[in-house]
């Protein structure tokens, strides 16, 4: 097993006795030490506030300064003895000399723990989504159609919701505008966002989800017969509610050969709603969804 260099001379820690009121550490100090309290009591005080506020008190056996020494994280409080105390000061040199005697794997464990903590802290400040365009699309899809929204306000609200940086939000808005899902235009009160069909953006979200999973996306898999059936259903003026055989007859009478398999497929697309009496009615929202998906296929695929 490989170990560190144990031949180097160890630098011992410094033992200090201090009186009550003694300032053991001040944020202005340039030297960094790990401070271990052996006896007495220390208080970490925030002197930047008036009156100064005690943040926490240390009891014998406790220590501070590890992050300051290992990761250069500033320790922003003043450390004062509230009683006569005995402390151990571990300087950077002392710690390094001791750490060098540890096996390399143990050093790696120490570094690994520090790195994991740093990563977790950083992660709380970062957006959680990887696909920021999909995230923004989901948000924008809830806007009202044919209404202008101030871009600044939208960006601020969305940033608050997701932590996605403003520059990224703006780049994604431009990407949606390039696909002609929305317009970015000058209004009376600055730049505005406008969309005729926010539903189209919801369709785009669904397309992205299918693409991410490498799954075929139903609107782009329709056969010619299914497309004809879609056009026919979209053109229906009346709210027809009837059973499956009658629907099949309706398609046949209209010159579209729909068999039971095709019918089941159409049900899986959600083109029909099942009514209480087991009859079927056209689901207009879903028909519009498929129509928009086909009409804007090039925009959705990004091949404009």
């Amino acid at each position: 097993m490989s170990t560190g260099d144990s031949h180097k001379q160890l630098i011992p820690p410094t033992q200090v006795s201090v009186k009550a009121g003694f300032v053991v550490y001040s944020p202005d100090d340039e030297t960094r030490n790990i401070i271990i309290l052996n006896k007495g009591e220390l208080a970490a005080v925030d002197r930047s506030e008036i009156p100064a506020r005690t943040i926490f008190k240390m009891q014998p056996g406790e220590l501070v300064g590890v992050a300051a020494l290992l990761e250069r994280e500033p320790f922003k409080y003043t450390l004062e003895a509230t009683q006569d105390s005995e402390i151990t000061l571990i300087s950077e040199d002392c710690m390094e000399s001791e750490l060098k005697t540890l096996p390399l794997w143990l050093l790696a464990v120490i570094k690994g723990l520090s790195a994991q903590t740093r990563k977790l802290k950083e992660a709380t400040r970062k957006p959680r989504v990887q696909n920021t365009l999909k995230s923004l699309s989901e948000y924008i899809s809830h806007l009202e159609p044919k209404k202008s929204y101030p871009m600044d306000e939208l960006c601020r609200e969305f940033r608050w919701q997701t932590k996605i940086p403003e520059s990224q939000i703006q780049a994604d808005l431009k990407a949606l505008a390039r696909r002609q899902f929305l317009e970015i235009r000058k209004g009376e009160n600055g730049t505005e966002i406008y969309s005729d069909h926010p539903m189209l953006i919801q369709i785009y979200v669904d397309y992205q989800k299918a693409s991410e999973k490498n799954k075929p996306w139903a609107p782009f898999q329709l056969t010619d017969t299914q497309k004809k059936a879609l056009t026919l259903l979209a053109a229906l003026q009346k709210d027809v509610q009837t059973d499956a055989p009658s629907w099949l007859k309706f398609f046949t009478d209209s010159g579209i050969a729909i068999n039971v398999t095709e019918w089941i497929k159409m049900l899986s697309f959600g083109w029909f709603k099942v009514c209480d009496d087991s009859s079927f009615q056209v689901n207009k929202d879903k028909i519009l969804y498929y129509q928009l998906a086909l009409r804007y296929a090039a925009n959705i695929r990004g091949v404009l």
């Binding site: 096996p103 903590t117 608050w160």
Partner: protein, 309 residues
């Protein structure tokens, strides 16, 4: 220790007490908890299982050899031997680093939960607004929240559970039902106001304002003083009497003024805070809207405590 390609080094969730150092080959780590997260790869020099070695923690990932590989195994006994031979402060530093990592992990979980609240309320509010129903399919809400904020379904469920405890919504099998249609959007806008304007939203009422509004609504309900359009009208004299009787305080223009300024109470004529309250013959308010406002004010102060407490 030799691990053949395809063999498992450890399984997610099982307790371990050893550390592995990859000496050759390659391992892939995956998580059932986060199936969509990118797999983690461990190449020679990587260490696996720091927390298992230090505190017999459950393995965080299932780790499988991508090719024939070799690891060096370090057991807790070896660690103990080394630390026993060192000054005690080395052990203290190790404990400190472990506890700091746990705190960071806990803070991350809390932060993720807090962060998921606005998009969840936004998505729920928009869905019930557009669909004109009071429910949203649970799966759909989870999916949308994941798409928008990266929130995992378990986290969404945890958050929904908290909101159910606060009686904001109800989880019913595969749908989530809003207890009141307006409280969710109201809460969202109140949180948004606080975050974007860095000040308290006008929707937040002081205790006194809440008491006055409660008295007003009790009177409206008890005396059936609500019209068909949902507007209730309470004569000032009656409001003053009831405030004195049930809340033991004298209602003045100064006390009522904030509710008028916030648009909760409406008067026939311009309201003068310096004039006697009796100059105003009666107050009007929307019954349902006022109830929702009170409900939101009940929930709002409990939220922070529930989410991070």
């Amino acid at each position: 220790m030799l691990i053949a390609e395809g063999e498992y080094l450890c399984l997610e969730g099982e307790r371990g007490n050893s550390l592995y150092i990859v000496q050759s080959g390659m391992f892939k780590g995956t998580s059932r908890k986060n199936p969509e997260s990118e797999p983690e790869y461990f190449e020679p020099g990587s260490i696996i299982g720091e927390l298992s070695l230090l505190e017999t923690a459950p393995r965080e990932l299932t780790i499988q050899a991508e090719e024939d590989s070799e690891v060096l195994v370090i057991e807790q006994e070896q660690l103990k031997e080394i630390l026993d031979a060192k000054p005690s402060w080395i052990n203290s530093i190790m404990s400190f680093l472990v506890s700091r990592r746990h705190i960071a992990e806990e803070n991350k979980k809390k932060s993720d939960l807090v962060q998921a609240l606005p998009p969840l309320l936004f998505l729920f509010a928009k869905y019930i607004e557009n669909s004109k129903t009071d429910t949203i399919p649970l799966l759909l809400l989870q999916e949308k929240l994941h798409d928008m904020n990266g929130t995992a379904p378990e986290e969404a469920n945890h958050l929904l559970q908290i909101l159910e405890d606060l009686k904001l919504l109800k989880i019913e099998r595969d749908v989530v039902r809003a207890e009141s249609l307006q409280v969710i959007p109201l809460l969202y806008h109140t949180l948004k106001y606080r975050a974007l304007h860095k000040q308290v939203s006008p929707n937040i009422l002081s205790m006194t304002e809440q008491m006055v509004l409660t008295v007003f609504l009790q009177l409206a309900k008890g005396n059936r003083l609500t019209s068909n359009d949902g507007i209730c009208t309470i004569p000032t004299e009656l409001l003053k009497e009831e405030a004195k009787k049930s809340m033991h305080f004298t209602l003045t223009s100064r006390i009522v003024a904030p509710l008028v300024h916030k648009g909760v109470f409406v008067t026939d004529q311009p309201f003068d805070i310096h004039a006697p309250l009796d100059n105003v013959p009666c107050f009007y308010a929307e019954f349902e809207k006022s109830l929702d406002l009170l409900e939101m004010n009940r929930i709002f102060p409990l939220l922070d405590k529930k989410l991070v407490g």
